[in-house]
Symmetry: C2
Subunit: 490 residues, 2 copies
């Protein structure tokens, strides 16, 4: 059997027979692929969807089913909760969240279209109860559908973008609504007559001598099948958090982490895209989080690194705080709590009690930290917190409380042993239409991508907010589906 590789396309002129033919071939049946399929099929194109696993899902189905939405005066849920969210505020927040190379064009489009996208999701059958659950939440424990899901109310974001809760979760009882979200999208895909091929792994793109992508080689029943895609191929295979070799070469910081969020996120779409000439950007970026904000009272604690220094305002999004932990020297950080706020952390988080003491000096000694480090940090924090301020890190008043009720404890979050889930944010450089760009900034004819196969709205680990990835997958998946359906046949 011929060897196929993701490293470069199979040559169109070497195809001996075409085993199948379609307008649009979509690789990957997570939320991005599903939304691309819905739009492409809805526009009248013949669509074939190839999924390497035995069914729909991907990382989307492992998520909370939360989508970052707002602007335009606010969704029904936002308005009911008193948030008159503006498009400007949403755009400003997304630009900050996108980091030093935020994609201003995608951000502006998404901010403008966010309410329409919310309506589209409802039109597909995604239910939203419309109730807001205040406080620090990872996912709603019951079936509420709006939460704070980022750093909106925290410094420095709150100074630039008027804060609003924007995490819109599918109505679902408990955690894990992502599976339900994908099921609803799958039902739409099926209703539209999309040809769904499961256990069908893409082996290689097919491209002609001019570099135009004309199809894909897919392994079905252990045989390579040559599929002609007249209008184009959409890569939606997710990121590469489950490909150790790619992690090592592109984002070695993640090698300390043990808990990738993915089903089959082996980076094959990114590799195929690069092999066809696509530009992969910000490949070092990743999201990570440890669910340390449960119970919520722990947010009133302060983090110090192994040198006893604080390093962030702890009221930021838990993922931003967690990402910053990886920037600290060594593998451990400590969440310092007093008796008033201590509650047992989530078992899942694998957070251990590293030291307990009647004074902060005792905790400092027990952690073998030099005198005048951790204890001084807490005393300084306490002095200002008692005055209702945090001039160094600007933690908001709501979460500010002197840690002065003995006994005291240091809870250890260990990068290598605690639960730090992660996924990658680097990927193909695309236009808002999903067209994959080459390294000279020109689109590669016939090639589209969406979701974590691309570098999208979320592209900076320090700015990630819950719901950004699914917002990007669903909205720009749709854009890719529309664009490829209307592309000229090749």
């Amino acid at each position: 059997m011929t060897d196929f590789t993701t490293a470069r396309p199979f040559r169109h002129d070497q195809v001996e027979r075409w085993d199948g033919e379609t307008d649009v071939a979509i690789i990957g049946f997570g939320a991005a692929g599903a939304c691309a399929a819905i739009e492409a099929a809805g526009a009248g194109a013949r669509v074939t969807l190839f999924e390497s696993g035995s069914g729909s899902g991907g990382a989307s189905a492992l998520s909370g089913g939360e989508i970052y939405l707002g602007g335009g005066g606010g969704t029904d849920a936002q308005r009911a909760a008193g948030f008159e969210d503006s498009t400007e505020a949403l755009e400003a927040y997304l630009m900050m969240a996108g980091g030093p190379d935020a994609d201003a064009v995608k951000v502006a489009l998404y901010a403008r279209e966010s309410l329409n996208h919310y309506q589209w999701l409802r039109d597909q059958g995604v239910p939203y109860k419309g109730t807001f659950l205040p406080g620090k939440i990872i996912e709603p424990a019951e079936d509420d559908t709006l939460i704070w899901s980022g750093s909106e109310a925290a410094w420095p974001f709150s100074e630039t973008a008027r804060p609003a809760a924007r995490g819109h979760t599918i109505q679902f009882m408990g955690w894990g609504g992502g599976r339900k979200l994908v099921d609803i999208l799958e039902a739409r895909v099926r209703a539209l007559g999309v040809d769904i091929q499961t256990d069908a792994r893409a082996l290689s793109l097919i491209a002609d001598a001019a570099g135009r992508v004309t199809g894909v080689v897919v392994r079905i029943d252990n045989q390579p099948r040559f599929v002609r895609a007249q209008r184009g191929v959409v890569l939606a295979t997710g990121g590469f958090c489950m490909n150790q070799d790619m992690l090592r070469r592109y984002t070695p910081q993640t090698m300390r982490l043990n808990d990738p969020i993915g089903e089959n996120d082996n980076g094959s779409g990114i590799l195929m895209g690069m092999g066809a000439g696509g530009d992969a950007i910000h490949m070092d970026e990743f999201f990570t989080t440890c669910p340390w904000i449960i119970p919520e009272s722990l947010v009133k604690g302060i983090f110090v690194n192994e040198r006893g220094q604080r390093f962030i305002n702890e009221d930021c999004y838990h993922g931003r705080v967690s990402r910053t932990m990886l920037d600290q020297p060594g593998d451990r950080v400590f969440l310092l709590v007093d008796n008033a706020i201590f509650e047992r952390p989530l078992d899942l988080a694998r957070i251990e009690i590293a030291a307990v003491g009647e004074t902060w000096e005792e905790v400092e000694r027990e952690l073998a930290m030099p005198e005048g480090t951790l204890a001084h940090t807490v005393h300084t924090f306490n002095r200002y917190a008692a005055e209702g301020q945090d001039p160094i890190y600007r933690k908001a008043l709501e979460w500010l409380k002197p840690l002065n009720e003995a006994p005291f404890a240091a809870l250890e979050l260990n990068i290598r042993t605690s639960f730090f889930s992660f996924f990658t944010l680097g990927g193909l450089n695309t236009r808002p239409s999903g067209e994959v760009l080459d390294r000279a900034g020109e689109p590669i004819p016939g090639l589209y991508a969406a979701g974590r196969t691309t570098s999208g709205l979320p592209r900076w680990g320090h700015g990630y907010s819950s719901g950004l990835s699914l917002a990007d997958c669903t909205f720009f998946g749709r854009m890719a589906g529309r664009a490829v359906a209307s592309a000229q046949p090749t």
Copy 2:
């Protein structure tokens, strides 16, 4: 005229006429290209060297001409200075300096061959006086040829690898010996009969349908020339520190820096290599430094960030300290000095005095830092320093001194306005032979690379040491030249 692009190779079967023919085409006439040419020509191959500028040089000629060498008991200069450097110590240091994905195979080879490489350099005519200049040096002020050029004697490196000075500088009066180094290599290149084409910019690689690189399109006299390279092409065009668009897409942290070290480091070799299927890795990594260690007494100061926290043992290599400055919040860090150690910094460094006071509390106030931050940091440091220790950052005793002689000052190093030179460390993934690997780890026939066009010995900004890049350029340039000269003609 046909459009040529670095984004993908020109098609071999589209070449209408060959304007030239050679065994080996080398792109770029810095140290890497020169060394590749010397070895390839020395092995009997016909070599043509294309340089986009009007003469040899590249970033190598802008350097101090310093090469990181040692092991095997030490060079003559090392032994004379009392360093019995072992291959194991050199290898251990290079592995640490290479960071989380150090290339163990290249490191082991270089450590083993380092003394032979030193001899080879001398055989080419590179002079080494053999005298050691102790202390904290950026480049020798006169013509000494051995200095400490890394973090060997500093924690944590000193705990793992037995320290030795390894920065071997070409004998040259004053700074900037890199020009002389390249001149000597150029003379050898000419003596060996290499065909040197200047003002000859490579526009595109040429590859056949199977992906084999067969030549290069070069612009000469404003015309594209199609050059057939029978045995292969060596990319040695340097890094991409002068390509703003690449910096933004791959290493946006550098966008704050103003002083690239390069002549024409536009990343074209990396782009051409990627376009031919090559894998570019660790593209986010870069070296940066501000020459703050002059005068040397300043090393006895301590750095704090905008929050008044120390962040590193200041006796590390100046580039490691500088790189860590970019990890701090905000754009400014402060070097705290007392009257005993203050001397005026180098003008070139653009370091300003931000605050002066009779007490550290006064300095803290003048910098508008909250009470109990900077001043406490200094007092804690002073208390331990008086006892001859630095339990928090482990600065070595030699550089440890309480900062207790008024007046006191905070010198500001500003990422955006001080002199932070930088160059990129990400590049093509290569074997020690210079063979460029694709994303599946397979070599691309006919394609080689060396120097900063590759991800080589130096590939982690926090571990960089002076002389690592030229060590990599010269040694692995040689390896690439040998390998391509003995490759089967295509």
